[in-house]
Symmetry: D2
Subunit: 147 residues, 4 copies
């Protein structure tokens, strides 16, 4: 899918905003790709990110998928926009086991107010990657009061 | 709603499992209530939990809501059960601003394999609390291979 | 929950709009209650509404729940508003078996643009009713170009 | 994606079951494609299928998407299985306007008990088709007591 870019600084906008997210830093997450309509976020395994069985907690999977979706929406918005997660749904269909989680958010449909995104999360293990979750997210554009 | 309890140790089961969740400790979250079919989890504000505007990140809201829902389902399961989040959906409808977030998970429908839960998240601020999110979660019971 | 009414004709608005829905008539559905922030829609059983095992089809359950949620949102909107379903999620947790289905939509949170609603669907059988589904829906207000 | 087929009669199973759905006949819907892990259902426009503005009602979009998802899951199940919709979520992001709606359901992940499906709905108009909705559905396999 090709998307119209309305803000040439989209990558800067995403990276600057991401750097302000206390949670992403606390989880050890990084933005690894920013393209028009698509953002990838990765997080290496750490014992601080686990559920009771030692795998990545669903909350980590969801946090990076939501963030990747939100920023994928933001890449297509005009300068001065803020993006808000209205809602999302995630199916966690395989154990999030491995060295790192990779969440890729993509815009499915970009509207004036509402942007629909899809997120896919992959668990990277020694012998390859496995998709462990799929998200659909509804993002809303709001005018940022200050830059 | 009154629920049939099939494991008298339900509170222990929940608290022991919760204590093993690296993520919950990393976020500073605590279980504050465990009743049959209902679990409450709270997290005080910290800069490590924020999104780019300094409020609680949606990932924190979601992580504690998912965990509260999952454990509310587990309280009603027979001994030796494990609970897995199949999927959930969350609407984030007010800013998660305040001193603490409180997530309450409740069982809506408890089946043999599938349990449907509802989660509500409240932001506590100086002058009261405000609901900021609502979740519906599908939980699945699996037999735990080892205690 | 008490809701502020911004259009005293809210019941008329809902009933007039509902009467224009070809699908609701085709399914045999009726609006039975219209209050500020809450609308009830019912449909009696008919063989035209079934899935392969002779129960109400999930599509019927969903259609009346979506419609009840949308109109519950509309009751709280100013005159000249149109309501659009942005998205919804439904859990179908018990067989929709019985003489009639009753869907109740309620506003959980009413915002300027976005309204979050909850829908509950009950199957009425000889000896009582049973909840068979729960919905969460995101509705959006748009300005109607013509009355 | 290639899927393992465990029942060579999968197409028959789907078509026979579909023919028993009173609702699909009532809506005028047809199964147009059955492949392992993918089913397409179409419905031509009719005034009986509309919402208040004369477009396809979201309930129709949802009914055929849910049905296409459910049968896509069933194509991969062993003989004697029944498929039940546990839950689904749909985003309705463009007007469902046109001569026909086409819903394609596909299996994203097939597990022993739970199958996750994705549905896409397209509106066919004179000058092409436009995607108007995306669904994610959770399907469950249950043993059919009688064929």
């Amino acid at each position: 899918m090709t998307h119209a870019v309305r803000n040439d600084d989209y990558e800067d906008v995403v990276r600057t905003s991401f750097a302000k997210q206390g949670l992403m830093r606390h989880l050890g997450a990084e933005v690894t790709e920013v393209e028009p309509g698509a953002v990838t976020i990765e997080v290496p395994f750490a014992p601080e990110l686990t559920q009771q069985h030692g795998l990545f907690h669903g909350g980590v999977t969801t946090s990076i998928a939501d963030t990747a979706c939100g920023y994928s929406a933001l890449t297509l918005m005009p300068a001065g926009s803020k993006v808000v997660s209205v809602e999302f749904k995630i199916n966690l269909f395989a154990p999030a086991r491995g060295e790192r989680l990779v969440a890729r958010g993509q815009v499915v449909r970009s509207g004036r107010t509402i942007t629909v995104c899809q997120g896919e999360v992959f668990a990277w293990i020694a012998d390859g990657e496995q998709q462990c979750a799929t998200m659909v997210a509804t993002m809303m554009r709001v005018e940022a009061p200050t830059g």
